[in-house]
């Protein structure tokens, strides 16, 4: 197991390197002089030159690239151009809100999606199966801001169970959790739709396997056969989808954060785009990439836990 973990970890290094290189390139190929963009047309030549120097734009591309890599490795993402605070302090101030939303939404997606998917597989081509397939299709084709607004209208405005606007930074964990419910359901429902579909099809494949008949021949109860022998073998594609979706959700959460007026990375992205704060954008991209790579690493490790054959490869 340890060797497997080490191998997986080693694989993430080249990926992170490639991502960092791409981010660096992207920021340089954008047309226009960043200093000019930041200071505006009216800026005088001296100020422009000073800014270029501060940003290291006067050095050769190679020198810029190397120092960018070195800074990134040390976790130094530079200064935000619009606020003059460090990029990392800007991001780390709101990242926990986005991460807690992402985790809560994944929880909703899995807790809802897996059982429903299994039941749909067991009731294949009967009413319950058709209903879940229809609902999951609806879930996939519903934009997050529409479902968000509907949830707000129903549970916040009409029933008044939840706040319409999330309170910023609350030290009381219960209130914080309460504020999290609607947004995570909104984000989690879409995920549940994906998870339901993949669980159903994966489970359908497993149900006809020989070892499922062996499990029946042993006299095990139906529940044990399905949930213990069946689900475990159906888990690899489910974990894949959960991992993929979890990894990209940090970006997908933008709409939900805005509809529910939650603090989080969503607003930060929006602000950085409006003010052309490209060091902040660069930092955000690095953090996203790091997050995706880490989630992928976790997914690989979970594969190894589920299926012993994975480690042997």
């Amino acid at each position: 197991m340890l060797r497997y973990v080490a191998k997986r970890l080693l694989f993430t290094l080249p990926i992170l390197f490639v991502v960092a290189t791409c981010v660096f390139q992207l920021a340089r190929v954008v047309p226009g002089d960043p200093a000019l963009v930041i200071l505006g047309d009216q800026a005088n030549a001296e100020a422009l030159q000073a800014l270029r120097q501060r940003m290291g734009l006067d050095r050769s591309l190679m020198a810029q690239y190397l120092s960018f890599l070195w800074d990134t490795v040390r976790g130094d993402l530079g200064l935000s151009l619009s606020s003059n605070r460090t990029v990392w302090s800007e991001i780390s101030a709101v990242l926990p809100f986005t991460i807690e939303l992402t985790i809560a939404a994944t929880f909703v997606g899995v807790v809802l999606g897996v059982p429903v998917g299994v039941l749909a597989a067991l009731r294949r081509n009967r009413v319950a199966d058709y209903v879940t397939r229809l609902l999951s299709l609806a879930g996939l084709s519903f934009p997050a801001f529409v479902s968000g607004i509907l949830l707000l209208l129903a549970f916040a405005v009409q029933l008044r169970w939840f706040p319409v606007v999330s309170r910023i930074v609350i030290n009381d964990p219960l209130t914080r959790l309460h504020n999290l419910v609607l947004p995570s359901i909104n984000l989690g429902l879409i995920m549940a739709a994906y998870v339901t579909r993949v669980t159903r099809s994966s489970m359908l494949g497993v149900l006809t396997e020989d070892y499922m008949r062996t499990a029946r021949a042993k006299g095990l109860s139906r529940r044990r056969i399905v949930w213990s022998h069946g689900l475990r073998n159906a888990l690899i594609p489910i974990v894949t989808v959960v991992g993929l979706y979890f990894g990209t959700m940090i970006g997908n959460s933008v709409l939900t954060e805005i509809v529910f007026n939650r603090p989080g990375v969503g607003k930060l992205i929006l602000g950085a785009l409006q003010s052309r704060d490209y060091t902040l954008l660069q930092g955000l991209m690095i953090v996203f990439a790091f997050f995706v790579v880490m989630v992928n690493l976790c997914t690989d490790l979970v594969y190894g836990l589920i299926d012993p054959r994975v480690k042997a490869r």
Binding site: E209, D210, Y211, R213, T214, A215, R216, A217, K218, G219, L220, S221, R222, R224, H229, R232, N233, I306, D307, P308, R309, A312
Partner: protein, 323 residues
């Protein structure tokens, strides 16, 4: 009195042409300590017979359309699912053809055997583990203490079949259904597994239904033989009798096709193929392939007793024998 007594068993599958029988009107008897071999080419309904007895057919698209399977005073064909669960793995064990796919790839072999003991004998986990070790020793898995926590993919086909056998006999069942347990294995392993099954049978006094398409295996293991064709028993007799005095032309064809070292000439497979369950059968199902076919074969022949313990379903064969 026999341990299992199957009579008139008929099993049907749903096809695009409606419900079609894969097993028709089958009668079987197995006693304690006795081995009944069911023999026939692939597709003749042997597996479906075994699966029907243990009620392991797919839940949708398959049904037992008639007959009864009396076992320990109960009719398995009409038992409810919960009662069946208490019998499966406890009173009746089953070994399957494909050891490569019959085990759960994500569970250690120790846990797969142990859960039968927990389920049926109510053992605590530690006790089940100790008993699992004894079982693995019994089926001669090498160094069981070291391998009990290994996964199926770490074993060869022959070793996996030993694990499946350990699972099937864990609760000392009265009856073992073995569906071509050696077909997927190479010859030397085959012989070892057959010997193991024989030993276990003697130890526990088990009745056994041994399914195979290989008459060579039948000679080694069976007490009695039922030859099956197109879902019906076409001949049944004690094992010596089948080899000494085969009556049905299908049985003779199988014997002729059997590889033997005392015969150098080429094998003569029976020309033609087993009819699929979609085909509507009129008269004798074997007639289209039969060298002895007569006009009367358009009528379905009955299974006629032609001697003590010997029955045959053939107009020609039954006629030649003085009853």
């Amino acid at each position: 009195m026999s341990l299992l007594s199957v009579s008139g068993l008929t099993t049907e599958f749903r096809t695009d042409a409606g419900w079609r029988a894969a097993v028709r009107d089958v009668d079987l008897e197995v006693g304690a300590n006795e081995t009944l071999a069911i023999v026939g080419e692939s597709g003749s309904g042997k597996s479906v017979t075994a699966l029907s007895i243990l009620r392991l057919l797919p839940e949708a698209g398959a049904r037992i359309a008639g007959g009864s399977c009396l076992f320990e005073g109960r009719d398995l064909a009409h038992l409810d699912e919960t009662a069946m669960q208490a019998i499966r793995g406890a009173r009746i064990g089953m070994v399957f053809q494909e050891p490569m796919t019959a085990l759960n790839p994500t569970m250690t072999i120790g846990n797969q055997i142990g859960e039968v003991l927990v389920r049926h004998r109510g053992m605590p986990r530690a006790e089940a583990r100790a008993e699992t070790l004894r079982l693995l020793e019994r089926v001669r898995l090498p160094s069981p203490a070291r391998r009990i926590d290994d996964y199926p993919h770490q074993f060869s086909g022959g070793m996996r079949q030993r694990v499946v056998i350990a699972m099937a006999i864990a609760c000392r069942p009265a009856l073992l259904l073995a569906d071509e347990p050696t077909t997927a294995l190479d010859v030397t392993i085959q012989a070892q597994i057959l010997r193991l099954l024989k030993e276990l049978q003697r130890e526990n006094g088990m009745g056994m239904i041994f399914i195979t398409h290989n008459l060579g295996v039948v000679a080694q293991i069976a007490d009695r033989v039922a030859v099956m064709y197109a879902g019906r028993i076409v001949e049944s007799a004690p094992v010596d009798e089948i080899f000494a005095r085969p009556l049905h032309p299908y049985t003779r064809g199988l014997l002729q096709a059997m590889p033997r070292h005392d015969r150098m000439q080429d094998l003569e497979p029976i020309p033609g193929a087993v009819p699929s369950i979609r085909e509507t059968i009129v008269g004798c199902a074997f007639a289209p392939r039969c060298p002895l076919r007569i006009a009367r074969c358009v009528e379905a022949p009955p299974l006629d007793a032609v001697g003590e313990n010997h029955a045959v379903r053939c107009w020609v064969a039954a006629e030649k024998v003085p009853a």
